[in-house]
Symmetry: C2
Subunit: 154 residues, 2 copies
DNA sequence: GGTTGAAATGATATGATATATCATTATTTA
DNA sequence: TAAATAATGATATATCATATCATTTCAACC
């Protein structure tokens, strides 16, 4: 499914955590792995279930939420507000620092594409914000629509 | 609180519904009124409670959800995905047709400003979308930050 | 190596948001 | 008025999220 090497991304995540003095414990890593292997965003409860399936070990949902919080704080996971689901960051293995993310969410197949926000867009956003005397706070854009492959289906 | 005349907006909502052959029943109208009078977005449960207070009449939350659905279909109410709350459209009394909305949400006082998306921004968005072969689906932008008045407070 | 304090995780309860389904009432249409 | 349709009520339950206290793990220190 994934167009990237899960193990490589996990190693990169580990490196990035070490750099920041954050502890990527084995359970947290497994949670991230579940999301990396998932083909679409998952809810905390779905993640708990996938965790059980993939490790034969039970995990309380409460713990999943806490681990997701950790992963989000370290920009390894994002939460999609529009459907209350979580997704692994698509740029863990990229060298550049994490930009403000933009998610293209397919309403047919639920797949999500995370792209960096286009410069022109950032500029337009800032301008629009400025006109309203509003102080922006790390935006995250979620755009719903239909992905390329779903468009092709009849 | 409101910087507009609630009754006038309600009349306009009624006109707009008549035009579209939609039935703005008295209960639906009351729900809209609750939101017009609210100083911030409200959850369906909060709306049910405000409805009770303002009309001395009980209303099942299930009904509130249905009425909110109706109001959203008619662009009289929007749902903010980032906090699962509902807000009256700020442009009910405007003559022009409803644009894709952009919400500036203050994380301090919770007040929301709905503005029409700036043209440059729409253009940048479309471009970004096009580059990704994605077919956009009536977008709605939710931007979090701090409003002007909260910025002034120390 | 044992002690101790902090961080992580588990266990349990509960709150908050949302939907499914069937019954009843109101409104429109013929 | 009768029949069809739309709106609302009632009830149950699913889904998402947080609060709180107990236990375990781990690093730091002596
Ligand atoms: Zn990311
Ligand atoms: Zn798709
Ligand atoms: Zn609006
Ligand atoms: Zn404010």
């Amino acid at each position: 499914m994934a167009t990237f090497d899960v193990d490589n991304v996990l190693q990169q995540a580990e490196r990035s955590c070490v750099e920041h003095g954050a502890r990527l414990t084995s359970k947290r890593k497994h949670i991230l792995e579940v999301l990396l292997k998932a083909e679409a965003p998952r809810s905390a409860y779905e993640i708990a279930e996938l965790y059980r399936q993939q490790t034969d070990e039970n995990i309380p949902v409460m713990s999943v939420y806490r681990m997701l919080d950790f992963l989000m704080q370290n920009s390894l996971v994002h939460k999609l507000a529009s459907n209350n689901k979580f997704i692994a960051c698509a740029h863990i293995a990229c060298s550049h620092s994490h930009q403000t993310p933009q998610f293209l969410i397919c309403d047919k197949c639920q797949q999500v594409r995370e792209i960096g926000v286009d410069k022109q867009l950032i500029h337009a956003l800032e301008e629009s914000i400025e006109n309203n005397h509003f102080q922006l706070n790390s935006p995250q854009l979620e755009l719903h629509g239909v992905c390329e492959s779903c468009q092709k289906q009849h």
